[in-house]
Amino acid sequence: MPRPNSFGKDTGLQVRMALTFFLLGLLYVVFGAVLVAALKSAVPVIIILVGLAALQLFTSDKLALAAMGARVVTPQEAPQLHAMIDRLCVQADLPKPKVAVANTAMPNAFALGRSPKNATVCATTGIMELLTPAELEGVMAHELTHVANRDVMVMTLASFFATIAAYIVQFGFLFGGTSNDDDDGPSAMVLVLVSLVVYFVSFLLMQALSRYREFSADRGAALITGRPSALASALTKISGGMARIPKQDLRAASELQAFFIFPTSIGGLFATHPPMEKRIAALERLESQLQGQAV
């Protein structure tokens, strides 16, 4: 009798993610209404911002790769990594992404690109030295799940209104005092305040969303490889390595922080990634579910 899958359901995570999406959507609907009410003539501005967001979506992968000093490698240059990703792609039913390697000692890996067809997965030389093949496979499967879940697209769209809010706050601070138009004086003030609130709340929500996407990707990686414990072991090794190096996660840096006008100080308070212990605990649950099938 074929079983539907080796792992149980992740209902709790799905509920939390849905709630976050709902709150974010609600916030944006309200913000959109305020925007429309306040800026009847601001359509061109919004079009420009949409254009900026699209530009971001279409160029961020190349920019991020360049910023990381990563280079797309051919199968001849990195045969092991390519062969590993080939097999994972068959298993995950994904087209082959571009494979890049960043020459840095920091153990890390990240995925870029708006859709599976335009995806790039990147590993640092540090992570390839640190991890065993099975652990590295878990990490790459995690990144491929980000690709399959279109997390770059989801997060870019989710952050779009936050970007607008941030622009308005910025322009409000710069020019709000000087433009003494009696007609829209109070409404401009209100708009800046609303934007400030929208920016702050959406920031918190997006950090939460990002953490849920991480759990989701961990789960996906466990499904693809069938080895949750290998990923858990990789996470412990990476966290040990990361603690020595005073930088958070690069996926956060390249994909999310780029959107924020005030990136650093708030960013430290509310992490984009869940704490390592929670991720490992979730993977341990998956492993026991997997073993539980063996009766």
């Binding site: 009798m1 899958n5 001849q76 792609c89 093949p133 279109r150 996407r213 989701s216 499904l223 080895r227």
Partner: protein, 190 residues
């Protein structure tokens, strides 16, 4: 993957596509007659061995089943683990149709045990008129075949030959339409 799945970040492993493995039996007639390819007498199936007790049991049973059919059909079965942690069941039989049946028996046993989503691919080995190896790989997730011709040198493949094979085989085999899914399998042990 639907829009809702994207929002939910849902990832379930795809189960094997409807089985089109036996298209290889009919296509082989054309390959032998018109393309002067001959069977290397070997095929293999590659899957992820899970570290669970019942999975080991299923693999053991399956080996016995295929060994059992082997005695009258002449199929021998062997296994090897590759450096990426995948397991290959290697079938050897001079009769090509028996190879296809044997591969089907192996995948059937794994699917019957409920681990169908762990099967990666089946590989059929051929030789061309210069006795150079070439392979047809069957992707279980998608139910499609694609050619794989290793060229001399490390991780080089003869794309021209592969595309020509696709054109030559025409409609006789369900060939994977997306070239970016023609995943190589280096170091095929057959």
């Amino acid at each position: 993957m639907g829009f809702l799945d994207i929002l939910r970040g849902k990832r379930e492993l795809k189960q094997p596509a409807p089985d089109r493995l036996f298209a290889m039996s009919t296509a082989f007639v054309k390959m032998e007659m018109e393309l002067s390819l001959s069977s290397a007498g070997k095929a293999a199936i590659v899957f992820q061995p899970l570290a669970t007790a019942d999975f080991d049991g299923i693999v053991k049973d399956m080996e016995e089943v295929v060994q059992g059919t082997g005695s009258d059909a002449g199929t021998t079965v062997d296994r090897t683990d590759d450096e990426y942690g995948y397991r290959w069941m290697i079938l050897v039989d001079p009769d090509f149709d028996d190879l296809v049946v044997g591969v089907n028996a192996v995948s059937g046993a794994i699917q019957g045990g409920g681990y169908g989503d762990r099967i990666l691919a089946a590989v059929f080995a051929f030789r061309d008129e210069q006795n150079k190896p070439l392979y047809w790989i069957y992707n279980y997730k998608r139910g499609t075949f694609y050619p794989f011709v290793p060229a001399g040198g490390s991780q080089q493949r003869d794309n021209e030959r592969e595309l020509r094979l696709k054109a030559q085989i025409g409609a006789d085999l369900p060939v994977e339409p997306e070239l970016e899914r023609w995943f190589p399998l280096w170091g095929i042990p057959v």
